[in-house]
């Protein structure tokens, strides 16, 4: 029972952690690409990395935090333009290939030993080097705040200040997505998702709308990158292909083309993983599965869950089956 309680507390802690919020934000961005516009972006982690690097390097270079934040957004805009200009006129699959490889390029450049004094190479940048200005903004004061199962420092890394700002950003972005997707602008995007040529025949500039969507989702991805590294450290390998896969899983689990789907998906994603890991650790004897293996087992279960979701509930937990489901047939 004790162990079960530990698992439960771990789940509750992960549900509100800034990392979960970061995954939710990245999924919100991907939702604009994939859920609403139908753009297959397999490089959302690349956008996160771009944002994270731009932010961290700017702060280490001595720029104020607001400026560093803006630089991260601009970097994401540029990255989206570079990816979009050559590919958005082509069929959707090409964007998928280009984003996939571009994200890898960013990661490989970031961890390259030639850039060690800028990006930290494969060791990355430790959080202390760029966290300072953000911690200084806190008005939560010092000490600890205990709230039910959640006991954290008020301001320290991974503390309430980080949690509160991260989820505030999530809320803000949900509001933003809700506001633009009920508008005629969002309607054009959904039209493009269904049939580009039909929308073109109605006199809408499809290329421009796809570009706007790519940029917007990418910028949100960059914000996710910043939220992700603030309480932790910046390491290129932590935002690789597997991160893109987690984002997709969270999005599909929660329900693409819904406002809260990505958020719920991100929470469920981590909760499910911890639950499986906890249960496996508690009930499966160590001789069959040791601690490391339960973790891998949890990932396997996540993969199977994604398959089951796509096959049996293609609209996700919150999705409207009429509005969005994948043509799995």
């Amino acid at each position: 029972m004790d162990q079960f309680l530990t698992t439960l507390v771990a789940i509750l802690n992960s549900a509100i952690s800034p990392q979960t919020a970061a995954l939710a934000i990245a999924a919100i961005g991907l939702n604009i690409h994939f859920g609403y516009t139908g753009l297959l972006n397999f490089g959302q982690a690349g956008f996160m990395l771009i944002g994270a690097y731009a932010f961290a390097i700017s702060i280490i270079g001595g720029l104020p935090i607001i400026l560093a934040f803006l630089i991260a957004l601009v970097a994401a805009v540029l990255f989206a333009l570079i990816l979009g200009i050559p590919t958005l006129k082509l069929r959707g699959d090409y964007l998928a290939i280009v984003t996939l490889s571009a994200a890898e390029i960013v990661r490989m450049v970031g961890r390259s030993s030639l850039l060690t004094n800028i990006t930290g190479g494969s060791n990355g940048i430790t959080g202390n080097e760029y966290r300072g200005p953000f911690t200084d903004l806190s008005f939560f004061g010092d000490g600890r705040i205990d709230f039910g199962p959640w006991n954290y420092d008020a301001t320290g890394s991974n503390g309430w200040w980080f949690i509160a700002t991260a989820w505030f950003v999530v809320a803000l972005l949900c509001l933003f997505v809700w506001a633009i997707m009920r508008s005629p602008w969002g309607r054009v995007l959904r039209g493009i998702r269904e049939d580009e040529d039909a929308v073109r025949a109605l006199g809408k500039n499809v290329y421009s709308y796809k570009m706007q969507a790519l940029i917007l989702g990418g910028v949100i991805g960059a914000i996710a990158g910043i939220v992700y590294i603030l309480p932790a450290s910046l390491q290129a390998d932590s935002m690789g292909r597997s991160m893109t896969y987690f984002i997709f899983t969270a999005l599909l689990l929660g329900g693409a083309a819904t406002v809260f789907g990505p958020v719920l998906g991100a929470i469920v994603f981590f909760a499910l993983r911890l639950l499986v890991q906890g249960l496996a650790g508690q009930f499966v004897p160590g001789t069959i599965m040791n601690g490391q293996q339960t973790e891998q087992f949890a990932w396997i279960v996540i993969g199977i869950t994604l398959m089951l979701v796509v096959i049996f509930r293609p609209q996700g937990i919150l999705g409207n089956k009429k509005e969005l489901s994948f043509d799995v047939k």
Binding site: S183, P184, R190, E194, A198, R200, A201, L202, K204
Partner: protein
């Protein structure tokens, strides 16, 4: 609302008579000049590898009338549609380097503006709106949203305006009103909250046509509007198309159903093997030997499914014809 839908009885409206009169004096030859052309196309060719799908040297479409584009399968009608609406680029399009000689490059002008090389979006913005042979209803949007998407001048389609609803809500209300009005005309109003994907094939055709009308086009291009539509609906669709003409719109449509072409078109353009082979009013064109050869066949007025027509006499006659043709070919 539905009671005033015009039907295609023998009554010819004043506008219809005027439309016919406007092209009455035009000679019946391919590529002829029209007194008031809304669309002029020059030197438009399209090659797919070695096959020349479209090779139209000159064609004019008269303003305010219904023009039918007919021709056998593979005549290049749909490709020609794609070329003039900007969905495809002519092989003869002017190029920076190389390309055709100055006088022979593809050129098309619509309503006084060059539309040869500006792309589908801008062509549509100029007021030339098309539908597709294979309907493109946006399946996972509701019927009403499909309609709203067709509207012009919605400021909320700009990202920065979109965030603030009061800036576009007023225009949205106007658009919705107009959409409901059009849906009522096309008998789709009770379906307005259904997903467009749930409509039948014929209803999708209607929806696509209604959606095209949301932007108040100057000219509407219909690619096989009647394919797959049941006879009763065809009748009311014909009425709608005539009503569009009577409202001052120019209609260009591709169709295979000769009864329909005869019924509503004011002018017929016949294509075969990518070229315009004949032009004229429906009655005249259908007697043109070139058209009969290329498209209609000698027995186009006979119902081939009607067994009573296939008496021994007819069968003998057909057999004789076949032998005659064979000998003629043998001699040649």
């Amino acid at each position: 609302m539905s009671s005033d839908v015009p039907t295609t009885t023998a009554t010819i409206t004043a506008a219809g008579a005027a439309a016919k009169a406007s092209v009455a004096d035009v000679p019946h030859e391919p590529g002829v000049a029209k007194p008031d052309a809304i669309l002029t196309v020059d030197h438009v060719t399209r090659r797919f590898g070695g096959v020349t799908a479209v090779d139209v040297q000159h064609l004019e479409v008269q303003r305010g009338i219904i023009t039918a584009l007919i021709g056998p399968n593979g005549a290049g009608k749909t490709t020609f549609f794609n070329l003039i609406t900007g969905f495809d680029k002519p092989s003869s399009a002017p190029k920076l380097i190389g390309g055709p000689k100055a006088g022979e490059a593809a050129k098309s002008s619509f309503n006084g503006n060059e539309v040869g090389n500006i792309g589908a979006t801008k062509v549509a913005k100029q007021g030339m709106v098309r539908t597709f042979q294979l309907t493109k209803a946006l399946s996972k949007l509701t019927v009403l949203e499909n309609m709203r998407l067709g509207a012009k001048d919605q400021p909320g389609e700009n990202l920065f305006v979109a965030m603030i609803k009061p800036l576009w809500a007023k225009r949205e209300a106007e658009i919705t009103l107009k959409a409901e009005d059009l849906l009522a005309r096309f008998k789709l109003l009770e379906k307005k909250d259904d997903m467009a994907g749930s409509l039948s094939g014929g209803q999708k055709k209607l929806l696509e046509m209604a959606r095209a009308l949301m932007s108040d086009p100057v000219m509407i291009m219909l690619d096989e509007p009647m394919a797959g539509v049941n006879p009763a609906l065809t009748q009311s669709l014909l009425g709608h198309i005539q009503a569009l003409r009577d409202d001052g719109m120019t209609v260009l449509f591709v169709e295979h159903d000769m009864h329909m072409v005869r019924h509503i078109s004011d002018w017929v353009v016949v294509m075969a093997e990518g070229r315009v082979v004949a032009e004229g009013p429906a009655g005249t064109v259908m007697d043109d030997p070139a058209v009969i050869d290329a498209y209609l066949g000698a027995h186009h007025n006979t119902d081939l499914g009607d067994d009573s027509l296939l008496t021994d006499e007819v069968a003998e006659e057909l057999a004789a014809e076949v032998t005659a043709e064979e000998t003629a070919e043998g001699k040649a």
